[in-house]
Symmetry: C2
Subunit: 439 residues, 2 copies
């Protein structure tokens, strides 16, 4: 071992501090597994004086400007842990790649917006752009899709990709508590942000799904085409109704290759109790996929957190560190496919997807309501698989819960619009998609 791989680290929040912890405690292990010493030599963060888990920052050269750090001759690898889709993260990653430096990032927002461009830049420069930590924390889904299962035509991939949402849904189900109540607790515990929109609105899941989709199907990153629906409208009653019908509600990111184009969607989903995905509780994440040769594969682990994310960053750094011993600038194309082969697949419009649906109506307790609802559904070719009337509410309004057979999304939306115009309906109807066919 004669050379040290020199890291420039931008961002000293939770993950950055976790990476310093890992490097401090595991230097021998890292050297044994790469044949090279790996060391942070320069850092950049917003506040030079804040305590960072007791680490002595004076050991590292300080940069005020992440772009200057990224392009510095003093580093071999730029580790971007600042976050944010825009500058300075964007400018810094671009500067690093243009300077011919390998980049490791945990920044899903940045890559969801600029991943294709950065993949091209990295390829042109002949350097690695690794981002395992950007998707599902410590779960090795990026490397699995990019390398291990690269010989497969992936048919579908879906997962629980946001720990905050899964924590909230799990708590609601386990403790019979309302969404707002559990959200407030999650915020107090630090599992949810003060402004939780990004998580509970499904946007974080969509960023991760955009990357998973590109890796799975060999396409450019296409965040704009993802249908996004969050969990803020899921009620405790929905969760109880689902349980009575044998389902659990999860926020899923789903991508499916169909004959009509690629489906990419993020939404709350009823999944069968007892299925692997239904059993993923709390802050854990899981990704399940189906490849034409490998069949079904599931990966499960911690989707966030200081240590799990630092583990993923370090795995990416070590892949680059092994090049020192090999004497080679080897890298896997950032998005799995060589950039010149990245496809743009047709997008299947959300209106055209076919699913089973859970429908919840609130109606006045008058005779004939169900007949009118069923009549409208029938006219839109939506047939009912089962029906429950879970509980009577105060003031004469009653909930009606229906499970449909396979129906087209556009038909369901049209039927609901028409049903909501009925004088007997006392509150807006809602629907939740059911995934009983994901393999």
């Amino acid at each position: 071992m004669t050379t040290t791989l020199r890291l420039g680290l931008a961002g000293l929040g939770t993950v950055g501090t976790g990476l310093l912890d890992l490097l401090a405690s595991h230097s021998a292990l890292i050297a044994a597994r790469t044949g090279t010493a790996v060391a942070v030599v320069a850092i950049c963060a917003r506040d030079r004086k804040r305590d960072r888990g007791g680490h002595d920052l004076a050991r590292y050269e300080w940069f005020d400007d992440p772009v200057a750090l990224a392009a510095s001759d003093k580093i071999d690898v730029f580790v971007e842990l600042m976050g944010g889709e825009g500058d300075p993260a964007r400018a810094a990653v671009e500067a690093a790649l243009k300077a011919g430096k390998a980049v490791v990032t945990a920044n899903k927002a940045l890559l969801a917006h600029h991943g294709t461009a950065f993949a091209r830049l990295a390829d042109a420069a002949g350097v690695a752009l690794n981002f395992e930590a950007a998707v599902a924390g410590g779960i090795p889904i990026v490397k699995t899709l990019r390398e291990s299962l690269a010989g497969n035509q992936v048919r579908q991939v879906f997962g629980i990709l946001n720990g905050t949402c899964n924590y909230i849904l799990t708590k609601m189900a386990d403790e019979g508590r309302d969404f707002s109540d559990v959200l407030a607790e999650a915020q107090a515990l630090g599992y949810a942000e003060a402004d939780p929109t990004f998580d509970i609105g499904g946007f974080d899941t969509a960023h991760k799904l955009a990357l998973i989709t590109a890796l799975a199907f060999g396409t450019e990153v296409d965040l704009e085409s993802i249908y996004i629906e969050g969990i803020e409208h899921i009620t405790l009653a929905d969760i109880r109704n689902a349980a009575n019908l044998g389902y659990t509600i999860k926020l899923l990111g789903v991508s499916v290759a169909t004959a009509d184009g690629l489906e990419q969607r993020v939404h709350p989903t009823l999944v069968p109790v007892g299925s692997q995905i239904a059993d993923v509780d709390g802050v854990f994440n899981a990704v399940r996929l189906f490849g034409d040769f490998v069949g079904p594969v599931m990966l499960y682990g911690r989707g966030a957190g200081m240590e799990a994310t630092a583990s993923a960053v370090m795995g990416d750094v070590m892949a680059i560190a092994r090049n020192v011993r090999s004497g080679a600038e080897a890298r896997t194309p950032a998005l799995g496919c060589c950039p010149e082969f990245l496809a743009r697949l047709p997008v299947k419009p959300m209106a055209d997807i076919v699913s089973h649906y859970y429908l919840r109506f609130g109606a006045l307790d008058k005779p004939g309501v169900l007949g009118q609802v069923a009549g409208i559904l029938g006219r839109y070719n939506i047939s009912i698989a089962s029906m429950i009337q879970p509980e009577r509410q105060i003031g004469g309004a009653v909930p009606i819960v229906l499970m449909t057979h396979e129906a087209r999304e556009a038909d369901v939306c049209s039927a609901i619009t028409e049903i909501d115009r009925l004088p007997l309906m006392s509150q807006p109807s809602r629907f939740i998609r059911i995934e009983s066919q994901l393999d």
Copy 2:
């Protein structure tokens, strides 16, 4: 793309034919993901005339001798799918590495016996030795341990690694059938070999565990130190008793780093109903591990079969193919650690392991039996957590089933030896370890 990566393929059984299928159907995908064409150019098998899934073998140069193929100038990568721990597989892999050729193999027996020596040879030659397909079929556990989670100190790893055993145990539980009955069916269906000893005796699991252990803990491969016990003594009564107590019986491979050394063991195990590992049914495999930074991770998928195994082989081949575009002979150390750092950890003797135990005694239906049994257990510091007497048997013999608190294996063995000498005991006592503490 100007260069073709030339594969020499030795062994045209199920997996070899699956690889030809994959190459035939996915050549565009492989080129897009590696930047290089990948093609089999030469083959070697036992019988030149047998039909191999309709593939036209005349397209490939034929070798009668796998060693000659391995060292041939006509190939870049030697793909060893012959199987067997000895020659010719051993000689062929050695010849390939010595000739400076990358090797991809699915041969767990070969690597369990000679993995450390081959890892050294590959490192000295500066070539890759990849073996994803040797462990848990299509599940990317080798790459996950070797690369993705390389920054972790792994604390434990355990898994269901043999589909034949898991199929038999699942069928026994689901259909209430005897071991021998289900085994005969599995043999008829091709899930079990005519001589099933290798699978049901736990030896196949041990081979895989030996490789997982080396990867997880940075050690030389140490098959000799693995305690191996198969499933042939598991009765339907054991499965029913376990179910009544809230457990499922699985054949696990388990490796745990303890203060007293490394535990490496293969044995039937009671795992709690509802745990992820208990839900792995049929021919599926799963590996669960705990890394100090990443926390718990589980991988699940098909552990065997033509297509899933071909997927794993292809992933390994594609990792090497990417070197063509990079212009680099990059590789990960075969066993995760650079050979000069591979450790030999002290082995924790099986007698010293501490576990909960399921104990089954067959006793004559006379007063005082339970008191005598409990007395002996107490003298060996084994305390009873619960007891059931599941059913009366013919002839006055009754089964007694006990669940213990934590006890030392040596004490359990000594107590059982003593108990079996009691005149009131009508059949040999048996114990099965319980894993309720694996994370």
